[in-house]
Symmetry: D2
Subunit: 138 residues, 4 copies
């Protein structure tokens, strides 16, 4: 399963170089991951209600071209890899109209209890997170 | 009591107009208010530990001149007004070297319980928050 | 004309009180204002291309109820007031499903040249910005 | 040369998990990198004045322990690697009082002209950016 969201770049996301400030891509990844979870049938909100917290433990990000104010950008998200305590999501950001690839990345998340100790991802969650081959080179 | 902090404008705070994006001033106000609380002898962190939450209920902000990347800005904060359930802080932002006034504002905060219902500000907190006349016109 | 956008609250917008951090509402206002401009037929992006910059000069904001993670919020925006060098927009934020009013506010913007000096709003822009009565009490 | 800054975690940086939202570390890295540049004798601000722009092209980040509201965190920054068009900075974030390592990372930046095309880093800048061995495992 690949999830895709489309975002409009807001003025607040630009910097004085006239492009999107690089940290905002992590927020876009988060938005895309949230929608991927929703599409599995189990929202992250519901997951937290069940006492399961997923915390980002690792980030890799490559910027290939700049996003600019008022651009429509598409952010795709998928599961790259799954282990008992850790899930890795892949991301590709492109300019929605031209399809130009702007960035790729991955984030690994570990499963935490409410007390913030690492724990196994519950079976019913593992069953929803199916790794697929990368649709683009990350 | 007037508290003052000095901040260096970071690239992340600029926008493509080449100035500080306006929403960042609210974060600067928060930083200044946190230090004012610390100087009263009761940090906001400790206040939350005691079960008292202060939530922003109202904001007024006037921008007078632009802050720019790498500027040193000084943010002053003081108590403007105090009521049983509400405290209003005043703020003045100026360019630290020239003293040019960049912005002024106020935020009102209401006291909440952990369940997010409005409650009286405890007496020991009221005693620390002494309103003073505005040092600049807000 | 009233413009309305619907946003999903992202994790990045929450704070440790479990609600949306107050400064994010200014960013939501910006998003709504951008769409209002687009609906007039003249995007803000195009306005900057024409050498007209609108800079926020004043903000008023009242928080009435908290927005929470994963909420859908609707942000309405309209023109409240118009002068030769200044336009004031009004905003109302509500929880999209229940319709509960979460916040109201206004921002005034002044027209700047590329050199950041205040100037008249061009006639063709004034003609697009028609003030209307407030749909809710701001 | 290793540069170090100390930051106080602000409320705006927390999320509803009660810890610092992960994207903020990239902003902390930026702050630390800015001060490293300043300590070389050539600020990034001056570099842009000379027509040299450094844009982040790659990020790696490992989160090891959570930073929390009101914590003092120390962010160290150094040059890891240098090439004709690219400089890689390393970072280590720790809790200032306990010294606990919270995160490590690196960012690579490429040199751009004002027209956003990749170019060589000027010789006088290369001379200031001296790679050193990592003080901690990144």
């Amino acid at each position: 399963m690949i999830s895709a969201i489309t975002l409009r770049v807001n003025y607040s996301e630009t910097d004085q170089m006239g492009v999107v400030y690089h940290a905002n891509y992590l927020i876009w990844f988060d938005r895309a991951r949230t929608e991927l979870m929703r599409e599995t049938g189990l929202t992250y909100k519901e997951l937290e209600r069940q006492g399961v917290y997923l915390a980002v433990s690792e980030v890799k990000l490559r910027y290939r071209a700049a996003a600019r104010y008022d651009d429509l950008v598409r952010v795709r998200c998928w599961v790259r890899d799954l282990a008992s305590r850790r899930v890795t999501f892949g991301y590709a950001v492109d300019e929605a109209e031209s399809g130009e690839l702007l960035a790729t990345g991955e984030t690994s998340l570990v499963s935490l209890t409410h007390q913030h100790t690492v724990t196994r991802i519950p079976g019913h969650v593992l069953a929803l997170l199916k790794p697929i081959p990368d649709p683009v080179r990350v």
